[in-house]
């Protein structure tokens, strides 16, 4: 379990004199005399080291950065804008149009870059909203327990009972087709998953001594939740949130494919696949490139999640390495 530097009042502190300043300095203070030197490593360094050992995750991270650059910088510099009609209709991939053009003459490369932007933006928005809401929800439920826990978790269960695509399609039909509304709809369902994870971790942390110590020192409930419980649960939450993000990207593409997601004049990778579906035999490039980009983005995020799991949450990975 990652131990944040802010909350290390260990059990030893309670036996010493009451005038001892807040614990935690014991570690950072005078180094114990040893025959060998021990370099001090911060939490962040430890996590970073473990992450860097996961080669696939590092490669995925680099690829994802490149994708972000390609989507935004490349999208801005590319000679065609998305939605722009060129005189070339139904052209197969060439130097002029790397991903070909559709029957209306739109440059597929520009379209795919725009779709990638949408997918990445949805990923970020879903990540932020569902993680913040879900973490707080789960932490509050787990910390207070009893009736609060029951009611809050039943509400989360309620969301988890239904197939996401059905509820999301319904809500998206209700609130319409811009990318940020779609991501709010997805986040409005995904926080329930995050809250389950957060609650699970908080339930076990709640019984730990440092929470008892914080209580004895007179910390308020909110302080304990925000300063002690959430930072300690963050490892598992980030890992699970990362994997959820790739699921969220896939959900958005599925919604767009079904006609309940991002709608024209804007575009998204799912919409592009949907439009290309009928022309697969004659203009297959329209179908393959957006699909490959979806897979590439989701794959990178999944591998990064795997690496983060190794780095942040070694307990979960006792079977790996």
């Amino acid at each position: 379990m990652p131990e944040p530097t802010t909350s290390t009042p260990s059990t030893g502190a309670s036996t010493t004199a009451t005038s001892t300043p807040p614990a935690g300095q014991k570690v950072a203070g005078a180094p114990p005399e040893r025959e060998f030197t021990v370099a001090e490593r911060s939490q962040l360094q430890l996590v970073l080291r473990r992450f860097l050992q996961h080669r696939l995750a590092v490669v995925s991270f680099v690829v994802l950065i490149l994708l972000v650059l390609l989507a935004y910088v490349g999208g801005a510099l590319w000679k065609y804008k998305f939605g722009e009609f060129t005189p070339d209709e139904s052209e197969p991939p060439s130097w002029e149009h790397p991903f070909g053009t559709d029957s209306a003459g739109k440059d597929q490369f520009a379209q795919v870059l725009r779709g990638t932007q949408i997918s990445l933006q949805i990923a970020v928005l879903v990540a932020i909203f569902s993680t913040v809401i879900g973490t707080l929800w789960g932490a509050v439920a787990g910390y207070f327990g009893g009736i609060v826990d029951t009611v809050m978790m039943r509400i989360a269960d309620l969301i988890l009972t239904l197939p996401l695509i059905a509820v999301a399609a319904m809500l998206a039909h209700n609130f319409g087709g811009t990318w940020w509304l779609i991501s709010l709809v997805i986040a409005g369902l995904y926080w329930a998953y995050v809250s389950r994870v957060a609650r699970g971790v908080v339930l076990s942390l709640r019984e730990k001594e440092f929470i008892e110590a914080a209580k004895a020192l007179g910390s308020s409930d909110w302080r304990i939740i925000l300063r002690h419980l959430v930072p300690n649960a963050l490892g598992s939450i980030i890992v699970n949130a990362t994997i959820l993000i790739s699921v969220a990207i896939l959900l958005e593409t599925a919604l767009s494919y079904l006609g309940f997601g991002v709608s024209v004049p804007d575009t998204s990778l799912g919409l592009l696949v949907s439009e290309a579906q009928t022309a697969l035999s004659t203009r297959s490039w329209l179908f393959y490139f957006p699909g490959l980009f979806i897979i590439l983005i989701a794959l990178c995020i999944n591998f990064i999640g795997d690496g983060l799991r190794d780095a942040l949450d070694p307990q979960q990975t006792k079977v790996r390495r």
Partner: protein, 326 residues
């Protein structure tokens, strides 16, 4: 055990009621079911519109509509559909089994595949086989269900073109108006199931095989496995008798939890292969703001998911006697 079962069912009822009300409000406010009539040219007479509104209970306040709908359910009435000739109960009745056979078969295939792949990669941990299986698993985990389905469909079409005969069915869940004996009919339905089932199974197996691998590794590291090996029990017997049998237990819970997401996958798969199943029914109902049809779909699905989870929990206690539901 019986008390636990009863309590779970009783607890589920308020959840179902509350969620049905929230969803009812959301669907009812999501669009005007009379919209297509109102914009029709030449204009529809006002009487027709009034009659439609009356037929769809639109003149009642929202809460009254909900209560009326709920009351109707107890008499087996799902309420009026926007399509006046369509009976929601009949539709669900036939479509349910179409989708059920897709989901059931896909889940069985996915489970078998997941167990085989998971166990092999656990036993050969960090080998080329393990890494390949992991990578392929992640690949399917990152693949949109519809993309794979379209790809398989196209492969089927190309194959048919190459052979010059339609060997692989790529559209529909059965040949419409099929004439033939019972067994020919079975063969026809089975033929239509091949591609959609493969597609849904491949999308679903990946996550399970990861779980299976982890749980197999955990079991194989346990002390009793080492003891069994030390006693001289052959490696193969230890793996199957002591290892696999215990490593399968966690998969029951995971399978039950993932049912909702497989239904999501089935909706998309059905759309690609143009099946007349539950998925099509849902998408059409949402698109036409058909409140009672959407509600019926969600209700049936929620009941199935809740029941399936309950069965999984009970099965878990049977498989692992350490779990007791007091």
């Amino acid at each position: 055990m019986l008390a636990f079962t009863l309590r779970r069912i009783v607890v589920s009822i308020p959840i179902l009621l509350l969620s049905s009300f929230i969803v009812f409000v959301l669907v009812s406010t999501s669009g005007d079911p009379l919209e297509p009539l109102k914009v029709r040219q030449p204009p529809v007479p006002q009487q027709t519109l009034d009659a439609e509104a009356e037929r769809l209970w639109l003149n009642d306040p929202l809460l009254a509509r909900y209560v009326r709908w709920l009351g109707g359910l107890f008499q087996g009435d799902f309420g009026p559909s926007v399509i006046s000739t369509q009976d929601i109960g009949d539709q669900i009745g036939t479509r349910f089994f179409v989708t059920l056979r897709l989901i059931a078969l896909a889940m069985i295939i996915a489970l078998v595949l997941a167990v085989i792949v998971g166990v092999v990669s656990a036993v050969k941990q960090y080998s080329i086989t393990d890494y390949t299986a992991t990578f392929v698993g992640f690949l399917f985990l990152s693949m949109p269900a519809f993309w794979l389905a379209i790809l398989l469909k196209q492969a089927g079409i190309e194959f048919n073109l190459a052979v010059g005969d339609s060997v692989i069915y790529t559209i529909g869940e059965a040949t419409p108006n099929f004439q033939g004996t019972f067994w020919e009919r079975v063969a026809d339905v089975a033929g239509h199931m091949v591609l959609p089932t493969i597609s849904l199974a491949l999308i679903s197996y990946a996550a399970w095989s990861r779980y299976q691998r982890a749980s197999m590794l955990e079991v194989m590291n346990a002390d009793y496995i080492r003891l069994a090996r030390a006693k001289g029990v052959p490696r193969r017997t230890v793996m199957v008798r002591h290892g696999l049998r215990n490593a399968l237990i966690p998969l029951t819970t995971v399978t039950a939890l993932d049912l909702a997401s497989i239904i999501s996958g089935a909706v998309v798969t059905e759309r690609v292969f143009q099946w007349h199943g539950m998925g099509e029914f849902l998408l059409d109902s949402i698109a036409t703001a058909d409140v009672y049809a959407t509600m019926a779909w969600l209700l049936v699905t929620a009941v199935v998911v809740i029941l399936f989870n309950l069965i999984a929990d009970l099965l878990y206690a049977v498989l692992d006697p350490r779990i007791r539901y007091a």
